[in-house]
Amino acid sequence: MARMTGRRILSAAPVLLAVTFGVFAVAALSPFDPVKAYAGTAGLTASQAELDQLRANLGVDRPLVTRWWDWLGSALTGDLGTSAVMRQPVADVITARLGWSTLLAGSAFAVAVLLGTGLGVLAARRRGGPLDRAVSGLAYTLEAAPAFWLGLLAIWFFSVRLGVLPSGGLTDAASDTITAGQVASHLVLPALVLGLSQLPWFYLYVRQGVADALDEDPVRGARARGLSERRVLLGHALRSGMLPMLTLVGSRVPELITGALLVETVFSWPGIAAATVQAATSVDFPLLAALTVLATAAVLVGNLLSDLLYGLADPRVGFDG
């Protein structure tokens, strides 16, 4: 187990290197112009000489490899550079936002996994029953619904019609201090929306896995031996039925990140996803590279996590596979 973890960490280094270079290359090829993005509407009245000066100041006229190499050099010494679009050090941008995104994604993930698993197990026990039919139908609908649409729907219902939950922001718009109570109430809707948009995957996998397991010989054997339904389900069916879901946990991380992107925008959540979009469309190299490293690391950790979980849950699977 430790060996696998160690090996994965070693192999992560070249992956991350390649990914950052890829980001620089793709950004350099993209039609977006960092100077135009930096200047914004002021660029529409700026003279060409002014724009040229800005290009030199931002250092975007240098060749791709030089830029990447310089970025890498300073990143390794701890200097992530300055974000052009945010006008502040990249480290500050990430510090201010990462926590809130992690909180949102973590809560959403918990909602999706817990609710998805619970409902999946219940549905698998009575396939074709009213609960199964209702939840499965809902799950397919949710899978097709875009997260931002769900978000608008939730705002309309809970904030406008019922007036019970705030519709956006981290705290009340009029409030200056960040308090746990406020954050908690503002977190409910975005986390629920993001969680629900991820839920169908977990639900459908668990439902199928547990249902298949319930049909297998060991379960039938256990039933034949007169074991209680509870022990059959928890002791036998759940264990093998949950295996497919464990691989899903890791592979859903990228999906969670892209989903967060839309949800953060709809709910004015000051997270990192919104910054990613801005960095990409403004070709803000330092910020984009740092965020890509973070996202890649999240995916690698997600994969590692699901492999570890799988290994723990099923002793037949080795850690060196």
């Binding site: 009245t45 608008l152 009340d172 009029a174 954050v183």
Partner: protein
């Protein structure tokens, strides 16, 4: 792991911990109507920076800062950090400002002439990434004379120069000690203005509190918050749920609040125009007859009625018809028959498919609009349909500026712009032939010696009568040879809770700066007596 990332993670942890600790003692405010001494407004776009050195608040109304001068409700210049309007030398090249005494920055340090000199010098420094510095092109030097006098010397006489000195003054003792492009000052500014920044959560909101030591008196609205809500529908929803006290809205959503007794709708008059560029370098749009015909073949009133739901007016040039700079008699009413006759007389004969042809050239050209901008798309489609009736084919295409820019020289573009402060600000950039194709200036590459001369007269003469005559000439020249078909001037709509005395609107520019909107004078609002 590097030291820096460790610090980053430590800081994240600290932030979360603080959040949890403060939460124990706090109670949450129920959403709903906030007290009248606090105002929360919903804005669509967020500034990249709050540093005036990088362009924040350059047109005035910056809340955290003051300029030497400021605009009143009628867009007339008034003294702010200066004691009075500037003394201008007879040759129009020296501007002298006397500064107000006893003004302090919000950190308690006094404001002096050195800060003014520092601000302008830093903006003009080539190393400063300020994309608007072209606007200060006229400045040759700026010098502090003693504590309370600043002298600007210009490279050429520039009549509207005083309008440029509304730009906010930064404190040298803070901003001068750090990297101008990325230092703390860009996100945690210190100014002399009516408000002090309390927090800026990027992507969420900017919070201000009243500056108790403001030289103009402490504002009655003690807390002022700008919530950043990009999506129009969400902004309308949050306004309806009572979380926002005011917001900018597009016409269709603003209409939903028209019958609301507790809220008022403000339609700000603007200089914000939409036009179609007619590139000189295209064989069709370069033909003066085609330009004239298109100019009278568009039904501007129909665009105002249908596309803008009456929130706007027909435009015949960069100057709106209700401005004192407008030249009466240059309105061109919709006249399809005359447009056809102009084309007939010029030799553009209808071909088999109804599209005109002259010397083998088909009367057809592409028109680009920026993708995702519904108002521009609607204007482009309406223009194409009007042109088709006159026998000119306009092929509309959507793209980002990156796609459009390389084609601007020959392809038509649905553009926008407008600046109310002085006619020189947009007309010089829009029409001067020497600026043809320079960045986004003079996109149509318009070249007209009479206009060039009039624009020079307009910027160099200090005599208001001479200036008025010059801009009259420009507008009359545009009738005979339009470089652009101006379509509409667009009102900006705002909905505001009706609990204050004081909200009003100024004439607004194209750019939605933070200073625009009924909250341009929030420091003067008073809670309504019930």
């Amino acid at each position: 792991m590097t030291a820096r990332t460790a610090r980053v993670r430590g800081a994240v942890r600290a932030t979360l911990a603080t959040a949890l600790i403060t939460g124990v003692a706090a109670c949450s405010n129920p959403t709903g109507s906030a007290p009248a001494d606090s105002a929360v407004v919903g804005i669509a776009t967020e500034p990249e920076t709050l540093s005036p050195l990088l362009g924040y608040g350059k047109d005035g109304n910056s809340k955290l800062f003051d300029g030497l001068l400021t605009h009143d409700a009628d867009m007339k210049l008034q003294p702010a950090l200066a004691e009075a309007l500037p003394d201008v030398s007879a040759d129009g090249r020296t501007y002298t400002y006397r500064l107000r005494h006893g003004v302090k920055f919000s950190d308690g340090e006094p404001f002096t002439a050195k800060d003014v000199e520092f601000t302008y010098r830093t903006i003009l420094d080539p190393k400063t990434n300020n994309a608007s510095k072209t606007e200060l092109d006229a400045i040759e030097s700026v010098t502090a004379q003693g504590e309370d006098r600043v002298v600007f010397t210009l490279k050429y006489p520039y009549a509207p120069f005083a309008e440029r000195t509304v730009l906010p003054i930064a404190p040298e003792h803070v901003a001068g000690r750090q990297d101008v492009n990325s230092g703390d000052f860009t996100t945690r500014p210190v100014g002399t203005g009516p408000y002090v920044l309390t927090a800026w959560s990027k992507g969420e909101k900017i919070s201000f509190k009243a500056n108790p030591h403001y030289w103009g008196g402490e504002p009655a609205v003690k807390k002022f918050t700008m919530a950043v809500v990009k999506d129009d529908d969400v902004r309308a929803t949050r306004l309806r749920s009572g979380e926002l006290d005011a917001a900018i809205l597009p016409p269709n959503l603003a209409k939903g609040f028209a019958q609301d007794g507790a809220r008022r709708t403000f339609a700000a008059k603007t200089f914000d125009y939409r036009n179609v560029t007619l590139p000189t370098h295209h064989p069709v749009t370069g033909d003066t007859a085609v330009r004239q015909a298109l100019d009278i073949a568009v039904d501007r009133q129909a665009m105002v009625d249908k596309l803008l739901e009456d929130a706007g007016k027909a435009a015949y040039g960069p100057v709106p018809t209700d401005s004192r700079w407008f030249t009466a008699g240059t309105e061109r009413p919709y006249d399809l028959e005359r447009a056809k006759k102009v084309l007939d007389d010029a030799g553009w004969k209808a071909g088999e498919d109804g599209i005109r042809v002259k010397d083998g050239v088909r009367a057809s050209f592409p028109l680009w609009y920026t993708s995702g901008d519904k108002i521009r798309q609607d204007h482009a489609l309406a223009f194409a349909s009007d042109a088709r009736k006159a026998g000119v084919e306009v092929k509309t295409e959507a793209g980002t500026w990156e796609v459009i820019e390389p084609r601007m020289k020959t392809d038509a573009v649905l553009a926008g712009g407008g600046s109310p402060a002085d006619p020189d600000f947009d007309q010089y950039l829009l029409l001067t032939s020497s600026l043809a194709g320079d960045g986004f200036n003079n996109m149509a590459q318009y070249a007209n010696p009479t206009v060039d001369q009039a624009l020079l007269d307009g910027r160099r003469s200090g005599d208001p009568a001479v200036r008025k005559a010059a801009y009259d000439t420009v507008q009359r020249e545009l009738v005979g040879n339009p470089g652009y078909v101006f379509l509409t001037h667009i009102d900006h709509l705002y909905v505001v809770n009706d609990k204050w005395e004081g909200p009003s609107t100024q004439v607004e520019p194209h750019d939605h700066g933070l200073g625009s909107g009924p909250w341009w004078n929030v420091e003067q609002w008073k809670p309504k007596q019930k």
